[in-house]
């Protein structure tokens, strides 16, 4: 069940109503039950896999707690188990074909058959959550959870299960223990988040994804550079609105149960450099990477190389952190390149600090800040190329971006004056005008949020404007109901 369907909202609303009526002691078991039911809508086998996953991590967490003299060893073993779990399920494409061949040769599997493993939903997100739990327990930041059902709920909790946010146990478990009071104000916040999320997903992200021709990312050299550029910008906004929309929806739904989930996006394309970008983009994962990869690595290096301006201290922590980020997204060369590029950008922006102390971003002249926004967006957009496509195609795409051809302005002119009928935009060498409209809409939405200073800006709108937005969303949802295809959330694949 995906989170933009009417069925999801109906089921979640019903579950929340029952939740509110239940006595306190039954609320968490109820949440666990409906979360397991949500998982079962994808596949009942996933419930079993996640139950085993939870049991293993629960047991490891108990052993990873001090004062057990081997608690650090248990924590490391736990991390290894989680990584192995990820490798076994997520990267089965690498080893199963070969393994199947061996079984075929041994006669244990029918000739020609290849074993297949179902990838449990949200596995990458669950693995990083568990690693943080084990490390926090081992480092005495959190006592080990002693209630297995509650630990299972940390894993299974349905609003965050598919694609996060990546919640730390030390933040999430206390929120679970003392949920917010579900009153009118909270429900208005929830509605604001859900509506914004639906708008981002249904109106902006789906449209932009659909407006990019399927083969633009397969045979990019078939298209002129100006169209490739338009589609790359469209992709950058589409993937952002897709994920930010998803997060806003699940945060809003979670508020129906009085449970606050962490924000994940804060206008990333307003970032003035890459360090700021990663504080605004997929914030829960970025913070995880910062706390569990970047800082430990930086501190460990500083112990060995005390000079903070030493090249190792400048280069290694951001580069390794971003490479890990790339690998988390997918064990493929293109993802490594994506992570490596972000690492490189972060290294480059740290270089000037070798000569003079860096000026805080807010104290820089306005023009420099704006230039920083433009530069960061441009480089981030270019880095989306390997994120989206295989390495050889990504290279072709970059190559294609500089091969502009003159649009057929004469043809366009003849259309405008009514001399020629407008059969098609494509031969004119111009991007789909609807795509430009959607990009303007996406930029306007962010600008509005930027001015309002809050993701819940919709609460400040007059009632008639809120009604208009609901109306527009319903119309779009109705059209999507009848459309020939729909686009799934991109981050659901991780």
């Amino acid at each position: 069940m995906t989170v933009t369907t009417l069925l999801f909202f109906a089921c979640a609303a019903l579950a929340a109503l029952i939740y509110q009526k239940l006595p306190q002691r039954l609320r968490q078991p109820w949440l666990l039950l409906i979360s397991a039911a949500f998982v079962a809508t994808w596949s009942w086998q996933f419930v079993l896999v996640l139950a085993v996953f939870s049991a293993v991590n629960y047991a490891l967490g108990r052993r990873a707690a001090p004062p057990d003299p081997r608690h650090k060893t248990w924590a490391r073993a736990g991390i290894a188990v989680n990584v192995l779990f990820l490798l076994v399920f997520k990267y089965s494409d690498f080893y199963l074909p070969q393994f199947s061949k061996w079984l075929n040769a041994l006669g244990m599997l029918e000739p020609g058959l290849v074993l297949q493993i179902l990838l449990p939903i949200g596995l990458s997100f669950l693995v990083v959550q568990n690693i943080s739990y084990l490390l926090d327990v081992a480092n005495k930041r959190l006592p080990p959870e002693t209630n297995f059902a509650r630990f299972c709920l940390y894993i299974f909790y349905f609003p965050k299960l598919l694609s996060g946010p990546v919640e730390r146990a030390r933040v999430f478990l206390p929120r679970l223990a003392s949920p917010l009071k579900v009153d009118r104000a909270l429900l208005e916040r929830s509605a604001s988040l859900i509506l914004t999320g639906l708008f981002r997903k249904l109106v902006i992200a789906n449209s932009l994804f659909n407006m990019i021709p399927a083969d633009a990312f397969i045979t990019p050299l078939d298209y002129p550079g100006q169209q490739l550029l338009a589609w790359l910008i469209a992709y950058a906004f589409a993937i952002y609105n897709d994920f930010a929309g998803y997060t806003a929806i699940v945060r809003g739904v979670s508020l129906w149960f009085g449970i606050e989930l962490s924000p994940n996006f804060n206008l990333p394309y307003y970032a003035r450099n890459f360090t700021e970008f990663w504080n605004r983009w997929h914030i829960s994962l970025s913070n995880w990477l910062r706390d569990y990869i970047f800082y430990p690595l930086a501190w460990s290096l500083r112990r060995r190389v005390p000079d903070q301006n030493h090249v190792l201290n400048i280069v290694l922590p951001p580069m390794i952190t971003m490479l890990v980020s790339g690998m988390w997204h997918g064990l493929a060369w293109n993802m490594l390149l994506w992570g490596g590029l972000h690492g490189l950008f972060m290294v480059l922006e740290r270089l000037p600090s070798l000569k003079k102390p860096p000026v805080p971003l807010n104290k820089r002249p306005r023009w420099r800040q704006r230039l920083g926004v433009l530069l960061t967006f441009s480089l981030a957009a270019l880095a989306w190329v390997p994120f989206r496509m295989e390495l050889p195609v990504a290279l072709q795409y970059w190559q294609g971006l500089i091969k502009w051809t003159m649009p057929d302005f004469k043809g366009l002119g003849l259309v405008i004056i009514g001399w020629n009928p407008l059969w098609s935009w494509s031969p004119l060498g111009l991007p789909n005008p609807l795509l430009i409209v959607m990009l303007i809409l996406a930029i306007t939405l962010d600008a509005h949020q930027h001015r309002a200073g809050s993701e819940e800006w919709l609460l400040n709108w007059p009632r008639w404007a809120q009604v208009l937005l609901v109306f527009a969303l319903l119309l779009v949802a109705l059209l999507a109901f009848f459309a020939d295809t729909t686009a799934p959330f991109v981050y659901q694949g991780f």
Binding site: S207, N210, M211, N432, L479, F482
Partner: protein
Amino acid sequence: MGLLIFALLAILFEGLFRGTRLSSTLQLRSHGVYHAQFEIKWFALEDFVQENGGVDVILLGNSMVNTGIDPEILGQRYEYRTGRELRIFNFGVEGLTVAPNSALARLLVREYHPGVLIFVTEMRDYTAVNGVDIEEQLLSDEWLTARLGGKVTLRAWLKDRSFLVKHLLPYRNWNRADFPDTFLQNQYRKLATSPSGYEADYYPRGTAWLPPDPADPAEQALFSMFANYTMDPGRLANLADLLAVTSEGTRVLITELPLHPNYFLYFNDPAAHAKYLEELVPFITSRGGVFLPPLPSELIPDSFRSDYYHLNYKGAMVYSALLADQLAELCLNEGVCLQPMEQAR
């Protein structure tokens, strides 16, 4: 509140479309079928019937029928020769072989009770691999499935019954990359289609006089498709289904457009066409159908053709008149006439 206003407006527009002529005035309608030209023809026929009070003769077939027969000329000439005034509609749709046409024939007879169906067929119709994609796409469409008496889903029901949905459906793919282009082209084609369903081909191509080149990679698929031509039993079963509408009082006439002689070069066997007709004609006549032999191809000059199969607007003018003459002869000499819809009931 937003939900309430949306529901109220939806009810208002539904009522407006139902209770006034707004629905037919606003030309943009759809049942959500992927085949855009099928929809153009479907709604054109609805309007035709509304305008004329019914339809007597429906021409069925593929794009050759679409661009090859002008019902206006056919009707006028037939009336001139026989004195019978008939309401004729061209339901030729691109890419439709005998398989989807048999389903369509059943549907059209059930909905409109025409007196006569004229199905224009040719050898490609009976090649199992030809037109399979379009056939599967069209026949698996949920609206058409429901309309043909199959499974009725909520979406199919809304697509069929709700006037509001019918007017929203043309925009259902509004955010797809190809939407502006396909939307514009569909509107253009809709305007180019006459009220009686004929779409003239004004674009000069005319390469029919060049024989197909076996070395041309684009032609090789056709050469291999027709190398050992036999009529597929499945497609013949479709033809039998189509002929079965005679049991409901609708007369079925089957003919073939005069194909360019170069077309037959795709077949290994120079007698392939004759053999095909030898098998086809008794199949039709034994099931209550009437076969009109194809007219000699020499009657249509090369410059009146778009390619080996299709006629351009000049060819359509000539052929429509010739077909009318052929039908008139059949009526006057053998008493097999085009009949008005009332006789089918």
